[in-house]
């Protein structure tokens, strides 16, 4: 019952949980940056003129989006060591997996973002004598990003929650740290609850900020 909760175990395990949280946060930030970069390229490939590029990009995105993330994590953990010929460790494997996986989801967002930019903008860019890359980098993408900031951030919150799935390959994120601490102190109930509270506090704060941002950006437009 509630009275039996022993909250005194939280304090000694805090440094340990902090290391876990730092890994979760790093994983989120790296997968976000890498995912948005690769995702933008994928989106450009899907919207571009080259048929084979479009086909490859859509196949990749659709494939990633129709498999459970857990299976993708297991796949990468199995296949990367086979390809490079040596074990790589759960943490690095997680970094690569999440970047590759999230790129598919970010690319769908960026595709919508690019399509939300008025056609005249692209034509104006070409009319000014800009090349494709210049038009993209200087005219289209800045506007696409701006329009999609709230959606990109919402996806990042989902990404942060999904990082807990690295549990399956034993990488030490926040949840795994709570799991281990719970076993060490023989207090799993307190530790699972505490990790849930941390996740909730972080995600709720972030999504409230995104909501406000959404209103702010909507007014400007």
């Amino acid at each position: 019952m509630l009275g039996q909760l022993d909250l005194s175990v939280l304090k000694p395990s805090l440094p340990f949980l902090w290391t876990g949280l730092k890994f979760s946060a790093n994983l989120t930030l790296i997968a976000m940056s890498g995912g948005i970069a690769i995702g933008t390229l994928l989106a450009m490939a899907r919207l571009g003129k080259s048929r084979p590029l479009t086909a490859v990009a859509s196949a990749y995105v659709n494939l990633m989006r129709s498999i459970p993330l857990l299976m993708v994590i297991l796949w990468f953990f199995l296949v990367i060591p086979l390809i490079i010929g040596k074990p790589i460790g759960a943490e690095y494997s997680a970094l690569i997996t999440f970047t590759a996986f999230e790129a598919a989801y970010y690319s769908e967002i960026m595709r919508a973002g690019i399509q939300s930019v008025a056609k005249g903008q692209v034509m104006a860019g070409y009319a000014l004598g800009m090349t494709y890359w210049q038009t993209m980098a200087l005219v289209v993408l800045p506007q696409a990003f701006r329009n999609m900031i709230p959606v990109l951030l919402t996806q990042t919150i989902i990404l942060f929650q999904d990082t807990s799935l690295v549990y399956a390959i034993g990488a030490k994120d926040l949840l795994k740290a709570a799991d281990i601490a719970g076993k060490n102190y023989n207090r799993p109930v307190e530790m699972y609850l505490f990790s849930a509270v941390i996740y909730f506090a972080l995600c709720y704060t972030l999504s409230s900020i995104v909501k406000r941002l959404q209103i702010k950006l909507a007014v400007v437009r």
């Binding site: 039996q4 299976m71 297991l74 199995l78 807990s164 849930a196 909730f200 709720y204």
Partner: protein, 245 residues
């Protein structure tokens, strides 16, 4: 890349026992489908109820619904699995707690289903709310003006239209349920991902194993998609949104 291929592995016997690996995967598929469909039913019922409540004029009901959605949306699914499995039984009354921990039949399956069902219901509630709010205000007003009560207005006017509007997001949610059911492996449900890990360790034929499991998930998602497309087609209202064809 050195890898010993063995596509016949599925018909070979497991190391200790007389089952084949194929039988592991088939039973895994069975549990995946069972968990997914059962939680989908819970999610639809609860999701529609809570989503509807969030559009009523009762402020306290709206707040309660919002809190419910925020709670389930801001905690990772895997953490929720652990909460339902390890934490919730501790907070039940003593006798019930003992029963849940020791005697409840198919404990892992029931826990995973409840967890995934409630998790998905919060997402459906959000879609239902958006669907109802996307209807023109006049629809509700007309219903009330004709003398229908508020529940009648919802039953005969708002919900039937909102349901049709949100079929596309419901479709992806239905596919998500199958994908998310993979998380149930963590509390020991013997579903596809669990069997994939087990078969990979036992047979050391990881690529064949994962390929087969990936294809099975793919098929699940595809069938889910076609089922929803069928419902979408059959429930079209002539002269409304995507009905023209």
């Amino acid at each position: 890349m050195k890898y010993h291929w063995n596509w016949g592995i599925f018909f070979e016997q497991i190391k200790y026992g007389d089952e084949t690996y194929l039988s592991w995967l088939i039973s895994g598929l069975g549990w995946t489908v069972a968990v997914s469909l059962a939680s989908w039913v819970i999610a639809l019922l609860l999701g529609f109820a809570i989503g509807t409540v969030r559009t009523t004029p009762r402020t306290w009901l709206v707040r309660l619904g919002n809190a419910y959605v925020e709670l389930f949306r801001n905690i990772p699914l895997l953490v929720q699995m652990f909460l339902w499995f390890f934490v919730v039984p501790e907070f039940l009354p003593r006798n019930l707690s003992l029963w849940v921990k020791q005697e409840m039949p198919a404990k892992e399956f029931v826990t995973a289903t409840v967890c995934l069902g409630l998790f998905t219901s919060a997402r459906i509630a959000e879609q239902v709310r958006a669907g109802i709010q996307s209807l023109p205000r006049g629809q509700r007003m007309a219903g009330l003006a004709m003398g229908l009560t508020l529940p009648q207005t919802y039953r005969y006017i708002l919900l039937p239209m909102a349901f049709r509007i949100i079929i596309p997001p419901l479709t992806s949610e239905f596919m998500n349920v199958f994908k998310n059911s993979s998380v149930a492996f963590a509390i020991g449900v013997l579903e596809l991902t669990f069997q994939a890990r087990q078969m990979q360790e036992d047979s050391e034929q990881g690529i064949e194993t994962y390929l087969a499991v990936t294809v099975l998930y793919f098929v699940c998602a595809f069938i889910a998609n076609r089922m929803m497309a069928f419902i979408e087609k059959r429930s079209r209202v002539p002269g409304y949104i995507a009905a023209a064809k």
